[in-house]
Symmetry: C3
Subunit: 379 residues, 3 copies
């Protein structure tokens, strides 16, 4: 018994099976098949391996972004001068990856809770019957009291009074000076699969350089300090348009890294594009142009709660980190090779079909290739 197993094992180890093959010496078949095989080989080596880098596995990063604006704005509205600093024009203040820079605004000062007539236009009324007390209108500012105000011919509402009149958007935008603000982006990415962490302050981007550089796609592609006017221009907008009604711009930080080469070649690329409200888009996208939101500053005056309402038009920046790292990995390599061999098999099947069904001497080749287990087919 033990002997038998030893024998079987030695048989197994000392034997080797290799398929018997027919070597068909036929120019036509030979050339066609070799070309098919070479094509498959070229595809596997050239396309899968070299072009698509099929020998690498891929990973996307987890990332963290911090932003900081610099710059001072100045407005002069009917003689009243004021400046706007970072604490005034950035929302939210804490340096998120998505934030809004105010470029225009409609201010309604000294609002307090009370009753006042609605704006003219959408809320016109002829009599009290048009203003159902206790109800709301979708675009209204408050709860209707049931009174139609004589002087304005609009419904009276319980609201923050006086109600905001946002019919006329200041033009030119009040904070055109926002064009010269600068944005500093700090971004770190980690590719967990490969254990690689990179910051956008790569080699050579030190405190000295940051202190004086300004991003330029050609001259300073790695400088993480961006002029707002440049960003807007690079994303295809006119600053004056977007500053007036607002808009949204995506700043894509693109980390496409081949980690088979030195990690210092893994550098970010910055791209800019409009997110919505792009004036070049088709009509449907323009359905909702602009970007604005309302923001209130509350205060007490003589024991009464009051607020200053700001309708803020601004540029919303979304820092979008897009990442793809690649590194040599044995599994995709062997999977690619293995499935390449499989495709070689397909090539062989195609050639066999030609050989056995299309050639004039097909019967001869069939006999060469096949051996039959009964006499029926050999007759």
């Amino acid at each position: 018994m033990k002997n038998q197993i030893t024998n079987a094992l030695s048989d197994f180890f000392f034997e080797y099976e290799t398929p018997r093959q027919v070597l068909v010496r036929n120019r036509r078949v030979g050339v066609v098949c070799r070309l098919i095989q070479l094509g498959v080989l070229a595809y596997i080596i050239g396309w899968v391996f070299i072009y698509e880098k099929g020998y690498q596995s891929t990973d996307t990063a987890v990332s963290s972004v911090f932003t900081k604006m610099k710059g001072v704005g100045y407005t002069n509205v009917s003689g009243s001068e004021r400046v706007w600093d970072v604490a005034d024009y950035v929302f939210p203040p804490q340096g998120d990856s998505s934030f809004v820079v105010m470029t225009n605004y409609i201010i309604t000062e000294g609002q307090k809770m009370g009753t006042c007539p609605e704006l003219k236009g959408k809320h016109n009324c002829k009599s009290n019957a048009d203003c159902e007390g206790g109800s709301f209108k979708r675009t209204g500012h408050g709860q209707m009291t049931g009174v139609c105000v004589e002087s304005t011919k609009t419904c009276e509402v319980l609201a923050w009074c006086p109600v905001e009149d946002d019919h006329d958007i200041p033009d030119p935008p009040l904070l055109m000076s926002a064009e010269n603000y600068t944005l500093f982006i700090k971004n770190s990415v980690t590719f967990p699969l490969f254990g690689v962490t990179r910051s956008n302050l790569v080699e050579g981007i030190d405190a000295d350089y940051i202190g004086k550089c300004l991003h330029d796609p050609k001259k300073a592609p790695l400088c993480p300090i961006f002029r707002l006017g440049d960003i807007v221009k690079l994303s295809g907008f006119s600053f004056e348009t977007i500053a007036k009604v607002g808009g949204a711009i995506g700043i894509v930080v693109d980390w496409t890294c081949n980690l088979d080469v030195d990690v210092k070649h893994c550098k970010p690329q910055y791209n800019f594009h409009g997110l919505y409200g792009n004036p070049d888009e088709t009509d449907k996208a323009r359905a909702s142009v602009g970007y604005n939101f309302r923001y209130a500053k509350h205060y007490m005056e003589n024991g009464t709660q009051k607020r200053t309402l700001l309708k803020v038009f601004g540029i919303r920046f979304d820092i979008i980190v897009q990442s793809l790292a690649r590194k040599f990995d044995i599994i995709p390599t062997l999977t690619a090779i293995g499935s390449g061999v499989g495709i070689f098999g397909v090539a062989t099947v195609v050639c066999d079909l030609v050989l056995l069904y299309l050639l004039p001497k097909r019967e001869f080749y069939k006999n060469m290739k096949f051996k039959y287990t009964d006499t029926h087919a050999q007759k």
Copy 2:
């Protein structure tokens, strides 16, 4: 020499190898093997290619979301009427993809820095010894002064006074009118691999339509305007419950796109589900039901810094963009074919095992299939 290479090359190009095969004419083996092969073929074509679309490569999107709330709320607390507009009830105000809509609150007005007794309950004391001066209690409101206040029998603290009493949550919630607020979602996605950008304002969703539509899963599945009450209902909550203690709801914008067909069929789908505090979940999830945070409005009164503290109960909405685009790609196609051929090879191995080890005539087949290089095995 040159002649030799030319010869080798011509040999290589004009020759073609094809494996020699035994054609086994055996009904049982034939049927079994053909069925196995057909099964493999059906799996490759039916499952990998048609069902799982293995001929396509996939990509997820980078996305950007902007939201805008509309609607006015009204409260009447002990005769004091007021309305709440967007600037009052949305946190943060700038239209982020994650935001909170206030539905209930506990207000503590006129807090100023000073000393006052703690709340009754957790901070009871019998004598000054129970209130170690300079220390903090984990759930306390301030730093203990070391005094046990006679009248309340609680420790005195240095804190914003009077301290907030959040024991009783207003019921019914103060801002039940939040049910009728509407939410507008703007979302754009970009599939970088395929260079496709889509907005949720797809074909047919123009300004006119947006002006009057309201999302309905059946009747208006593409309308990007949502009534809060509908969202809450669709995610399986009761509005009154969630409005009282708060909760979190995920709005999933699902972009599952087959880019082999016209891009206009790439449309978003909106789904809603509770994120935490779902009353239907098991006990463990209820460990921390509700959603609330504290928010202060600061003001000066007669030179003293004061604040109004709001404990805000609200619905937190997270707009979650989930995306998967697929498009024909030669590499996954050929990988699938190649590995399919490999599985064919496995089928052949299985059939060979049957043929050579299980059939009664196995010795005969063995001799047909194998040719031996020595005489030892042929004896």
Copy 3:
């Protein structure tokens, strides 16, 4: 005709082709080839299947995070005591996944719009000519009026006055007590491909447990309540350093789940690491150490708009959810098997090369393996 088709079909179904093979009985070739084949087999089974779990498909999660801070801070600046509660030191207040905890600050109280001299240092001037009226300096606080103030020898600016002097950062940090604040993290993840939703309040983490636990990597790895001092220590910082100038810490919630086993084994792991400003990093990263932002509280005093400006130094926490779920799937399984068979084919090709080109008896083996369709090669 019909007969012919039936015949062809029965031929097809009752026949079975199997390649004819040469069984080479040669110890050297046998051992080499068997070892290569065993190596391939070991690779496929051991590496692809067992180690890399190639029989599973993978999915990443969509996730939602909610955070809540607890704790009270205390400062005593030149005799003026005050406490800081959650509404004072967390930005933004609503419990986002990315937030800042204030640990130090420079306060500038009672700023109002007006003209005042700039800070000494960067804005020195000798005469009015050094202060071009109407222009801005990149690091300035406002718009220059064109006057060089005699007493300070700096340019006069229109700005929020007095301008902030942030030269000296309070040391030790004013809110060292932040070390004892606690952070509660609620996180839910959904793997859309597998339809699995998990919360970080897993089995056993109920209200009771949360009420008294404190995260510890060893003793309480699943407790979702974290002491700030612990987080900072675990990410390799000194609390005093980071509290003084600020910093950013990533809290990675790692969901690596094998869904082939019971879903209750799918538990989060918490890791902590510095994001930027890590004092251990190389020089380039230190290019921009620290984390701060400016934040203003506006108020009215005697009809004048004033503000309190806070330069907030703090720790920014980014909750980063990293997820990878794996589950058995037939497609990757068969792809792995199929491409493994392909690699077997490669092994055979290698052995054939040895057999036909390297062995002394290669001509003999060549004749055994190949059959020629003409007599030319057999001469």
